[in-house]
Symmetry: C2
Subunit: 376 residues, 2 copies
């Protein structure tokens, strides 16, 4: 696996690169659709490829460990074989879900115990165990097991948690080094910077993470409720420390505007449930702002969902039809909206890439950002 | 619009024909996927065409009248324009839904009053009104407004209802004759035979319906809970009376075995919610029987959903993956299963057509029918 930094913007810290994996290349900056439980909700695998133009999708260790279970994934020959997605996959380590979704969680030096949100069964995630699970899931990129601190988080807790995350990282790294991929293709482990919204902690964490000989690095613990200014400040600070020649993945971010601003700060990879979750509630992202398709104003608007969209689905159905599907609570509404929003996110990062290459990124971003949050 | 009867089986009453409409040809025998509220639940329009190979889909007057409403459909330029399905559409008249789904219904000579199952609002459907609504919806084939009697139904009620359905038919026919299609393509009105499970009533009704100069005829009031033997007996009796040169549509039927048996009796067109409704509950139809994909036995069965299936979707995903999607209550499970079942139904009628043409229909049917209901 290899990352090539191809170009850096002269006016911002935005970058263009290519990440080569055994399941194909990823052109950065990139957005990764979230396929929590081995499926991007409501979207077929061929739609992800052909309509949305996804290059890599996310799976989630916590969810996959519970359902279908690690044994099933191992028998299947890994997640790619299981769900039929033969392009790159990244798995989140489960840290975020253990601390946000699971019940009765307890954190100790060994790891985190928790009760399944599905059936209450008890489980223990350790750094070593999470590496083993992610070997079995078989994503191309796997993540270190960390504690994702909530917001707000007091300084003492944030510091203690960060230090534990660093110790856990060492254990992840060692376990990863002493194990092999199970399915004949390479896996890369990305460490995660934590430190909440405290500059000195973020600096300390970024320096620790930068000391690892990893293929790429991630920034966690942002987009958890803090003001956007804090997100940008922490991202900028961390990007200044993380090595330039490695891809930087900002976990769980964000709105279209967040993504453009963080690309400008030097981020290469993003994931977020926002495009799919908002789609299921009828919120559509476009270049000109956000459409709440449930509004009565769309009921006889027979224009295409997005005549400018790069993808066929958004140029096939009309706003009035999609509004009807949501009003009638029809599955197809969520399907169409999910495809639309994901295709928009993939367009956004692809267009950012082109604008960086053309040297026009900053002006393009500054023109686009204010429009993105308009209510249509 | 024109129906050409191309071939009749020598061993059974099965037939091969082509129905030409302004939105394309329909090769009979045919199954029509049900798109109740302007969408076949969970299935994109291009999937209906390319994966399922649907030639005509159904819409429902009752549902479409309530949502999105006749005015919206008229403004859109008809249902084809509204939902983007540019092949033939048939609309059911709403009779079945008024008598099965609506609340506080009252039947009088004028028509049926009912309260919407959605918001309780009061409405009146008359034969003339239902013709006007179906002109505005703009399906290629529209159905007469009838009373679909329940099962069981006492003789006196069935007789009185049938006679009213006949009077309503005359009013439908007159209204249809004195109105024009709104969107520049032809519409055909199919009358409906009623009479419950009473032979003399079915005979009387079939004779009445046969007296109309319609393009095709329908048989209603079956598949409402009566034994299959009654369904077959009534179908045979009615098919003997209905003109041979016109297509015969058996409404709301049925299981794969029902469809083959009724093709053998001379039926050309079918619709049923069974493939999609059962799909949403994880029941998959195959040549070898029915799969309940929720069963734990499939959890590590990594064979394709149906390696013999004619359609790509059923040859892409595995049983274990589909089982997982149902276990995790993921939308994609219902989507895949719906496509699978509809593609199977379309394969079934398409293969029946080929077998009739080859003169091998009876043996093929007799071999297949016992397998279709096996539990896998």
């Amino acid at each position: 696996m290899k990352f090539t930094l191809e170009q850096t913007d002269t006016q911002t810290s935005a970058r263009v690169g290519t990440l080569e994996t055994d399941h194909g290349n990823i052109e950065t900056p990139i957005f990764m659709p979230v396929g929590t439980v081995a499926t991007v909700k409501g979207v077929h695998q061929h739609e992800l490829k052909e309509d949305i133009k996804a290059q890599i999708i996310l799976g989630n260790t916590y969810h996959l460990y519970l359902r279908p279970g690690t044994d099933i994934l191992e028998k299947a020959g890994g997640l790619h074989k299981f769900n039929g997605w033969n392009k790159p996959i990244l798995t989140d380590s489960g840290g975020f879900q253990v601390f946000s979704l699971a019940h009765r969680r307890k954190i100790k030096e060994e790891g985190a115990t928790f009760a399944s949100h599905i059936d209450g069964s008890k489980h223990l995630f350790t750094p070593e165990g999470v590496m083993d699970i992610q070997r079995k899931i078989g994503a191309d990129i796997i993540m270190a097991f960390d504690e994702c601190t909530p917001y707000p988080c007091d300084y003492r807790y944030a510091k203690r948690s960060m230090k534990m995350t660093h110790r856990w990282l060492k254990r992840c790294w060692d376990r990863f080094a002493e194990t092999d991929p199970l399915y004949g293709y390479e896996q890369a482990l990305f460490p995660i910077v934590q430190g909440s919204v405290y500059k000195d902690l973020r600096k300390q964490s970024a320096e620790e993470i930068a000391s690892y000989d990893s293929l790429g690095n991630a920034i966690g613990g942002l987009s958890v409720g803090e003001p956007h200014e804090d997100m940008y400040e922490m991202t900028e600070l961390v990007c200044d420390i993380l090595p330039k020649e490695k891809p930087r993945y900002l976990m769980g971010v964000g709105t279209p505007a967040n993504i453009l601003e963080c690309i400008a700060l030097g981020i290469d990879m993003f994931d977020c449930v926002m495009p799919t979750r908002n789609a299921r509630h009828g919120h559509l992202f476009t270049k000109n702002g956000v459409i709440n398709i449930k509004n009565a104003k769309w009921k006889d608007d027979f224009s295409l969902i997005d005549a400018d969209a790069p993808n066929p689905t958004s140029r096939f159905y009309t706003k009035a039809y999609l509004r009807h599907l949501f009003a009638a609570k029809e599955l197809l509404g969520q399907q169409i909206a999910s495809i639309h929003n994901l295709a928009f996110y993939l367009w956004l990062v692809g267009e950012a890439r082109e604008q960086i290459k053309a040297g026009t990124f900053l002006a393009w971003k500054n023109d686009l950002v204010p429009k993105l949050s308009q209510r249509l």
